[in-house]
Symmetry: C2
Subunit: 740 residues, 2 copies
């Protein structure tokens, strides 16, 4: 049985191998004319400069945090593996972003060049490049997971097998915290960068100077294209690396505690999420190969080709899950397999609802566009209204998914559904539903990541003067990507909620470990657990439900309520800070672009080249400066709440942050998506088309939507999980020192 774990690094190597193969394939394509090459080089240089700067800053943060963990380990508040696990999580997450971006910046000119031949050729280059990103993310995540598992399994010594497994899985969560920290910086920094450049380029270029998007005369245009790479590619890569690894690690930790009394079953429960993910990698590669169409295919055929790839992978993973869990002979294998299906179905429903609310093929977004007739204010009001209303279906879906995944895992044993054993098994069901959602990330991320590549290809085509036809094709590819990306977003946001729930249980598990450590070190062999004193043996056998009673984690405890309030506030505060950061960074960009138009003679006539590098530099500096405070806040607040309000306060904080953050994230993502597509709807010739007053009104909506959907909204997904991860890693501190 133990040997099946070697399938995980194997799948990882297969994924990385195919990623390398697709990369080489893409590199063989021609990069086009000299102008195209030059522009691509500009963008690549800018993007790499940003990433270098970003990683420099983030490294400092990582070193400081790792030192803090080392000090905690020294004072017996954590174990000694933690600083290293934390560092590797951050490193691999950063590596995934780096490879993804490298590929994307090489692919854009090649995609534009291929699009000169046909829509299909463009799709092939862009999609295969997206696949590089998808496979790199899952490959690196599985590599990190399996290597750490093997190391810890070899070195950790514990009294018994069951507690060893709990020790291993909770330690591995620390690398999840590393990944989350890296992801938050990548999303926030990249999000600020891309939107500052975008807003700056649009406001001065399009609105004031009246030149089209991606016009080479606009000094911010290279920065804008760099932004698509650092925000939408590198940011998304780090983000999904974190989601993917987080869901597997949280579920493994839950499996370890759910089957603590049966070590043989425990091993299976820990392996199950890793194996499902590994099989998912293979199925994703099959799916990627299914995305083929005949030459001269129309949009609709391309869309169905992409859809086919994703759907076949999803269907196969559903079937494989039954086979894997049957093969493992895991307890309740039918029920737990259905939990995975629940996750998959929930992800699809959320994706469909995202598409309904944000695609201009449907009424809601069309209504937002129509409200442009009464000016920008009504565009904003109706977009906000749409976003708020659009939260209903995803929340109800996730609610049902939570209940069904839970009940399915305990085989609908309603008579006893909240007993200690049901609770941990049910939570395992919730965790594995998240793993199911993300198991085909290899291909769903490919459909997501090729959008920005197509977008950049469009930019390159525009700047190189490749003609309208090429631009239309890259726009079509981009639009196609938006549709398929909706499903990907559904999976990402749904899995974030489920993973965060699973992490609550891991938090309690880590509290137990910290208490055992304290009890074993204490002279009397006892540790203070809430209002009572207990010895290590009693703590080890206490259930999640027991801990709720010890620490009074009920909805009548005012400490819990204060935590919930602060958690909800954190989601809003974080968004407010990142929104304002975009505003400030955009402001400096606007001023720089205006300065260049004013001071560099001949820009508008195309006789002098604008100083692109200066704009790249301004965006980079702005993003670095602005990302620090909100990110540090996200790390500091759980620690402060833990030290003041203790376990009950932290759990309140996590629930408040999760619930409000989840709803706020959907609201922002959908409002932003609807504004974007309302503008596109007008640009396609409806309601007066480009240049009309209606168009101007929808441009205002789109500009407001930019930080909604690309900075604040997606960062919330990470924030939710990072706060949980920080709490888990800091559990030792909370238990040792809290005021309440």
């Amino acid at each position: 049985m133990e040997q099946v774990i070697y399938f995980v690094p194997l799948a990882s190597i297969v994924a990385l191998g195919f990623a390398y193969y697709f990369f080489k394939q893409m590199m063989k394509e021609s990069e086009g004319t000299d102008t195209m090459k030059k522009i691509a080089l500009h963008v690549r240089t800018g993007a790499m400069a940003y990433l270098r700067q970003q990683y420099k800053v983030v490294t400092i943060v990582f070193v400081v945090l790792a030192l803090i963990f080392a000090v905690m380990a020294y004072f017996n508040l954590q174990n000694a593996w933690v600083p290293f696990a934390f560092l590797t999580g951050g490193f691999f997450s950063g590596l995934a972003g780096f490879f993804g971006m490298k590929t994307a910046t090489y692919a854009s000119a090649r995609t534009a060049n291929a699009a000169k031949n046909s829509l299909n050729s463009g799709l092939q280059v862009a999609f295969r490049s997206g696949a590089v990103m998808g496979l790199t993310v899952v490959g690196l995540a599985l590599l990190d997971i399996s290597v750490w598992y093997l190391i810890l399994d070899h070195f950790v010594e514990e009294v018994d097998a069951a507690h060893k497994m709990i020790y291993i899985t909770t330690t591995m969560l620390t690398f999840g915290m590393g990944a989350s920290t890296q992801a938050l910086f990548a999303r926030v920094g990249g999000g600020i960068y891309t939107k500052a450049a975008d807003v700056g380029a649009d406001l001065v270029g399009k609105v004031e100077a009246g030149i089209p998007e991606d016009d080479p005369r606009n000094p911010a245009t290279i920065a804008d294209n760099v932004g698509d790479n650092v925000g939408d590619v590198a940011g998304m890569g780090a983000d999904l690396y974190e989601s993917y690894a987080g869901s597997i690690l949280a579920t493994a930790a839950l499996g370890a505690s759910a089957f603590m009394l049966d070590p043989a079953m425990q091993v299976k429960a820990v392996f199950a999420p890793m194996l499902i993910a590994s099989v998912g990698v293979i199925l994703s590669i099959i799916g990627i190969y299914m995305v083929r169409t005949r030459e001269g295919a129309k949009m609709k055929e391309l869309l169905s080709a992409l859809g086919k790839g994703v759907n076949v992978s999803s269907l196969l993973i559903a079937i494989s899950t039954f086979a894997i869990l049957y093969g493992l002979q895991i307890q309740n294998w039918v029920g737990i397999s259905f939990s995975v299906i629940v996750g998959l179905v929930a992800g699809i429903i959320i994706g469909q609802s995202t598409e309904y609310y944000t695609s201009h093929s449907y009424r809601p977004t069309q209504k937002v566009a129509e409200s442009a007739k009464t000016g920008p204010a009504t565009v904003i009001i109706s977009g906000l209204g749409l976003g708020m209303i659009s939260t209903a279906i995803p929340v109800i879906t996730i609610g049902f998914a939570i209940v069904l995944a839970y009940l399915s895992a305990i085989q609908f044993d309603l008579s006893n559904y909240l007993s200690a054993s049901s609770l941990s098994l049910g939570l395992y069901g919730i965790g594995i539903a998240a793993v199911g959602m993300l198991s085909t990330l290899g291909i769903t991320l490919a459909t997501d990541a090729y959008g920005p590549i197509a977008d950049n290809a469009g930019g390159n085509a525009e700047m190189s003067g490749l003609g309208k036809e090429v631009r239309q094709r890259t726009d079509a590819l981009d639009a196609l990507g938006n549709t398929t990306a909706a499903t990907g977003k559904g999976f990402a946001i749904g899995s974030a909620a489920l993973t965060a729930l699973a992490l609550l249980a891991s938090y309690i598990e880590e509290i137990k470990i910290a208490l055992v450590r304290i009890a074993e070190a204490a002279g009397d062999g006892l540790a203070q657990v809430g209002a009572v004193k207990m010895d290590a043996a009693a703590i080890k056998v206490a259930s999640f439900a027991d801990f709720m009673v010890y620490y009074n984690v009920t909805l009548m405890n005012p400490i819990v309520l204060v935590g919930v309030f602060i958690g909800a506030m954190m989601a809003f505060l974080f968004c407010g800070l990142t929104m304002n950061a975009v505003g400030r960074a955009a402001q400096s960009m606007v001023e720089e672009v205006r300065r260049q138009f004013r001071e560099i003679a001949g820009i508008m006539e195309g006789k002098a080249e604008p100083d692109y590098a200066r704009c790249v530099e301004i965006s980079t500096k702005g993003a670095q400066r602005e990302m620090m405070f909100p990110s540090i806040l996200a790390i500091a607040v759980p620690v402060v709440v833990g030290v003041i309000f203790g376990v009950a306060g932290v759990l309140g904080l996590l629930i408040g942050g999760l619930s409000a953050g989840f709803v706020l994230a959907i609201f922002m993502a959908n409002a932003g998506g609807a504004w974007d597509n309302a503008k596109k709807y007008v640009e396609e010739g409806n309601l007066g088309g480009k240049g009309s007053d209606n168009h101007k009104a929808t441009v205002v909506g789109d500009t407001v939507g930019d930080p909604f959907k690309d900075t604040s909204g997606p960062s919330l997904n990470i924030l939710i999980k990072l706060m949980s991860m920080v709490s888990i890693v800091m559990a030792g501190l909370t238990v040792a020192w809290s005021l309440f």
Copy 2:
């Protein structure tokens, strides 16, 4: 001791007497020229027509709900007093709105006329008219409370005094539900009306036709002025009636359960909030008389006069609280008095933070105005960012207030702060902090309500052509009102959060009563309490904390988590629905105004009178149509969640709704306030002044802010409490029938 209760109706009669006296005084003032009278009559007729229509619709809802309660009483799921208490709550709340609006519509022309003489004369008329509203609200609330108490005390028969008091106080909560239901309809309907008219009038009149605000040529101008009355006066009256009564009733119910084992103390604990409120009434009247200035006083003097009135009342109520609680010889009287002080101080801090974030004397709002330089999109982004960031101080303040009010009530007995007796006493402390916040509502509401009166006076002055000077004075009064209103808003929003927390405990109390009823009716004398069966005697002595265990209301129960998610979603959904309702209602208004400009010849030249009545009718119909769905949803969702997910699900729902709703409400109110004042800042001549591009950009912000601060935001306060009230009244159903 029992006799002190008669002080409550006495205070009520004093309040109503002074209200009548101030009304008569105001009516003695001259209403000005014939034009002024005619315009005031137009507005009055429109407002009354709206209110008649509104009350007709709401009556139907009330009759249906009362019938449902009657059926529940018949099936032993509620007691027989409930339908009647529910109806009177709705009736008195409606009456408060009616009297307030009647006064306001008589006062506007008189204020304008008085402002012809001096700023001070205008202030006196407007402020005294606001005082009519303030005193009517508190007078009617205390009347309803004391009459119901005396009736129930006389007629209810129970096994012992302690359970009789619990029975009385929880039954009286039903009248709180009546008040909340009426308030929600008033806020939502009035909010939709006023913003539809406002947005409609502004978009076509100001932007398209280029005529000034309140120009008599604008067909929507009367509807706009009617809107100020039905939204800001009648809506606010019903809203604060609900807050005021709700905080007293919730605290009384908590007092009854906290001191269940000591009937003599129990009576005192039930009377305490009523007595504090009654003394507050007298102090408010003293405060109102202190608002006097010499003739020819400047703005600053007026502001300090208003501030003096409020501050003196607040200081006196702080001192009186100690006297009252000492006089009652209530247990821990010093500590509980400090809980009241905590409430007062928290209200002031929240008010100050509201002022800081929304007044254009401070940097945040100035920054929003400055972002107009880069267009309307950045005005929206920075306003949203400001609103989100502005949630931090109020949430942290309320967090500290919750903890301090709780701990103070149990005299900082930290060793045992979550024992059964500490929990109910601590929650009583939280409830009475809310009573403290609202105890001087008589005067704080006066400072709040005179704003719309001054606003309407300005409209009247403009339409009657009274000259710039009068308009400037009424604008000054309006601005003055905005500043003092910030404190009022702080109290309203803070008390909503604390009252909602207190209602959680009342919910458990009502669950207990329902279970006792079931146990007593059952053949075996037992009722199902969560997973166990218990008899009536055991249920009666069980504590809040016990119920948390019986029903697994912990943060690890997935049912609780699903409830929290749905609650958070409800806050967003409700806002989205009301935002869109405003959009749709405004749309029909825009079309009507455009039609009149097109079809009625000579409007623009001032030769033909527009059809004001048609616009009033459209707004009325739009508001009535649009208010139904969100309001019914707010009532239905807690019932559905209760029937499916049971007690644990409902408590999750209430916490999720409370936390997300509270934060969302602050965000919307402050963003809306900042946009409004950013526009005023530009209109005062900054950044290019009126008519500049910067001005146009801030007008977009203001238009978006209108439904934020006057429709969706304030409705959330009521939504939070109404969901609790509905859950309390429907507790019998939940206990008898829920799926989980």
